[in-house]
């Protein structure tokens, strides 16, 4: 088990942003965390990344309690998020070196070369991140996220700004990364086609609670719906009906 979340809660005064969420991510597994805007996905991810203190519950990364051993736990993670671009005033290679040092990546120079090649960034290694297209910046973020061969990879809408062809390549690379090693991936996306293609399991979050959980390929039919997108819309519009079912 690379991630174990138990009864996770986050309250802002009287508002429960995350309300007793429990789930796990296993090695080699890609888990989709889905839900409408404001459902609590990013709040959950921020708590797993240690930048938001939970109001209750526990998070264990690779068996290490995040609250007690923050650094040791986070050494085993990495992340890429559409809203967390790397500093634009440093080059691709400079950013990778800095974050490689912070994450304690082994054989750093060789590893930087590997991820540059993997994400087709070789020709951009000396370019400032701020001048890259949004798609290129996403690839740099993903390269950074792979630097330390994390046990747990958190991807918050990783393909949101990519064209369909690049997005497919990236999905295949991430899929291969999960299958090849011992990495578990927690993936948020609003692209239901992508979730069905990539994720082994999906968790539907609404109003801070997990409403549904299952295989994204079979989950719609289990709820009498045609597609995952229909299920997503149902979760967004009629969460109570789904909760009762």
């Amino acid at each position: 088990m690379v991630l174990s979340v138990r009864d996770l809660r986050k309250r802002y005064r009287s508002v429960a942003a995350v309300d007793g969420v429990s789930f796990e991510v296993r090695r080699g597994e890609i888990v989709g965390l889905l839900g409408p805007n404001g459902a609590g996905k990013t709040t959950t991810i921020n708590m797993i990344l240690g930048i938001l203190e939970p109001s209750g519950g526990t998070i264990a990364i690779d068996g290490i309690d995040l609250a007690k051993y923050r650094s040791r736990a986070l050494e085993r993670t990495n992340f890429a998020a559409v809203y967390a671009q790397l500093p634009g005033n440093l080059t691709v290679e400079e950013n990778l070196r800095i974050f490689g040092l912070i994450y304690g990546a082994k054989h750093l120079s060789a590893r930087i070369q590997q991820v540059l090649t993997q994400f087709d960034l070789d020709r951009l290694r000396h370019a400032k991140c701020g001048v890259l297209s949004s798609g290129e910046q996403t690839r740099v973020s993903l390269a950074k996220a792979m630097l330390n061969d994390p046990q747990l990879l958190l991807l918050d809408e990783p393909t949101a700004s990519l064209d369909p062809a690049t997005a497919r390549d990236i999905r295949e690379q991430i899929r291969a990364f999960a299958s090849a090693g011992s990495t578990g991936i927690l993936w948020t996306s609003h692209n239901m086609y992508e979730v069905q293609e990539v994720c082994d399991r999906a968790l539907f979050l609404s109003h801070g609670k997990i409403l549904l959980e299952g295989n994204p390929k079979t989950l719609p039919a289990e709820h009498g719906l045609e597609s995952l997108e229909d299920l997503f819309i149902a979760v967004a519009r009629e969460p109570l009906a789904l909760e009762r079912s």
Partner: protein, 267 residues
């Protein structure tokens, strides 16, 4: 604490400085201008005063050391502001990096950039205005250490303030040394101040430094008791500043401000 992670913070500052005249020039430009301005003023005062007082070590030396204090403080804050300006908190603090490692990186970066400023000031002050630091002697070294510690303490406190109040609070940082300077007795003895200002001055380690440097220039021995008080005060301010920054950081993690720092507040 892993020094490799602190080295990463230092390396980031090196990358930013490398090839950026906009960052390199301020390391020595303003302090250089100060030395030139006060150097000529000292010369002028030497020329017009009847008493045989050499204003160069008294005034120019004081300016040089005060600017060194400011550079140390701003070295910490500027390195921190680089992360504010590039919205880098989320990237940094969602990693194994600890607050201690991060702040240590800022301090190390400040030491190196301040040495550039100090070297430039010494070069100008000695070559153009004949200021010799040998006049202060080895006894002045511990007082320089106190200034260094005070600069670190104020820098860490100022970064905590910006972390607390949001990016717009950057404005608070720049006038801080100017607010302290009247109480620090940089150019005049503490006894010149009214009683309430003397009371404030007595809790500032910088005031002990300048009082004793003036004593050294006047040919007196510096006070060991004053040095001890200054060191204790400087360390106390370092601890207070570290406590303040850590408290503000924990609050930012509790409220989620780290993840949404550009919003300034979460109301």
């Amino acid at each position: 604490m892993r020094w490799q992670r602190t080295a990463a913070i230092l390396l980031r500052q090196f990358y930013l400085l490398r090839g950026s005249p906009a960052r390199i020039l301020p390391l020595f430009a303003w302090v250089g201008i100060d030395i030139v301005l006060w150097g000529f003023l000292s010369r002028y005062l030497n020329a017009i005063t009847a008493a045989r007082i050499n204003f160069v070590p008294a005034l120019l030396g004081a300016v040089l050391l005060w600017d060194f204090f400011i550079r140390i403080m701003q070295g910490v804050t500027t390195a921190f502001l680089e992360d504010v300006w590039s919205r880098n908190f989320l990237n940094f603090f969602a990693t194994p990096l600890t607050v201690n490692e991060y702040v240590s990186g800022l301090v190390l970066s400040s030491i190196l950039t301040s040495l550039v400023g100090l070297a430039a000031m010494l070069l100008l002050a000695t070559s153009v205005f004949g200021l010799s630091f040998f006049i202060y002697g080895a006894t002045a070294v511990p007082f320089l250490f106190v200034l260094f510690l005070s600069g670190i303490a104020l820098g860490v406190f100022a970064t905590g303030l910006v972390l607390w109040q949001g990016p717009a609070a950057e404005w608070f940082i720049w006038p801080m040394p100017a607010l302290i300077s009247p109480f620090a007795a940089v150019f005049y003895p503490r006894a010149t101040l009214p009683p309430w200002m003397q009371a404030v001055s007595s809790i500032l380690p910088q005031s002990y430094v300048f009082e004793n440097l003036r004593a050294i220039v006047a040919g007196h021995a510096p006070s060991a008791a004053a040095l001890l008080v200054a060191i204790v005060l400087a360390f106390a301010y370092i601890l207070l500043a570290a406590w303040f920054f850590t408290g503000i950081f924990r609050r930012a993690v509790r409220t989620g401000l780290i993840a949404r720092y550009s919003a300034e507040t979460l109301n």
